[in-house]
């Protein structure tokens, strides 16, 4: 084998490895789903506080939304894992990371506030800190720096809510969920769909 052939062979290996790694990532639908779900919940909560509208059914709003979110996610994820044509280490880390974040956010949202450990107004701030960590790591796994940079948006939002806790903090969380979660989810979904159609 000559040097030129060896170079071509290495290039070939490199290209196949890069292409295979690109296709393994999550397609961002989870970001969109959870983003929209929580925005709906927060919007209802915000208006119920502003307009002092508290029908008893609202007590079930969050248990219903979060319960629905978990059931939907587990069904979708189980199905996706069963049908996945490839399994990767990075994909497993990403899945475990977001599962852990979901469990942590659920504990902070329900158990933390119900136990009286902190006022409900701080829930968004605490969850934002955790989301910041998840986005910082996800960016590395996706190989996209801009996803990691979203972490700073979440952390700045968390600091703002911690320092100025009012009912309007909910609006900050809605904005963060829109611009740091749902929109990035749409971008990831669009990009990966395009990439998959090019690679397959």
């Amino acid at each position: 084998m000559e040097e030129r052939e060896a170079k071509q062979e290495l290039e070939y290996i490199k290209k196949i490895m890069q292409d295979s790694r690109k296709i393994i990532l999550d397609d961002g639908r989870g970001f969109i789903f959870w983003g929209v779900l929580i925005i709906v919940g927060l919007s209802v909560t915000y208006f119920s506080v502003i307009y002092k509208w508290h029908p008893p059914v609202l007590n079930y709003l969050w248990p219903f939304l979060i319960g629905f979110g978990w059931i939907y996610t587990l069904i979708i994820e189980f199905n996706r894992m069963k049908r996945a044509r490839v399994k990767t280490f990075a994909g497993q880390i990403l899945g475990t990371l977001w599962f852990s974040v979901g469990v942590s956010a659920t504990i902070f949202g329900f158990v933390g506030s119900m136990s009286g450990a902190y006022d409900g107004v701080y829930i968004s701030a605490v969850i934002s800190v955790v989301l910041g960590i998840a986005y910082a790591l996800s960016g590395v796994l996706y190989g996209k720096k801009w996803i990691s940079l979203l972490a700073f948006g979440w952390w700045i939002g968390a600091i703002t809510i911690f320092l100025w806790p009012t009912v309007h903090s909910i609006l900050i969380m809605i904005l963060m969920l829109t611009f740091f979660q749902t929109l990035p989810g749409i971008i990831i979904y669009r990009d990966l769909k395009k990439l998959r159609s090019e690679l397959v």
Partner: protein, 98 residues
């Protein structure tokens, strides 16, 4: 030609399709037959032959199951396969550096 010993190149891996299969499996933990077929651009028969050769050499392992009553074969690299692939790439790099 350099004084690099090309005989050291692993004959099992030194084939375009088998090299592609190994490269895919190094990048992912586990891959289905259909995924490999798309990635290496081979026919079912051709791919099966090459996969069998890699399996016989102990470079890859296969797990077979059923999904919706259809057989599914999943392939993964063995420890021996990973080491052989790394050695193969190392040889190529040495050849370039010589």
């Amino acid at each position: 030609m350099t004084d690099f010993d090309y005989q050291q190149l692993d004959d099992i891996i030194h084939s375009r399709i088998r090299l592609a299969i190994m490269a895919v499996l190094v990048s992912v933990e586990e891959a289905e037959f259909t995924f490999l077929r798309e990635k290496v651009n081979a026919t079912d028969g051709n791919l099966s032959t090459h996969l069998k050769k890699l399996e016989d050499a102990g470079y890859i392992a296969v797990s077979k199951s059923f999904l919706d009553r259809k057989p599914v074969s999943r392939y993964m690299l063995t420890q021996k396969g990973r080491k052989s692939f790394e050695a193969y790439v190392e040889h190529l790099e040495k050849l370039i550096k010589k």
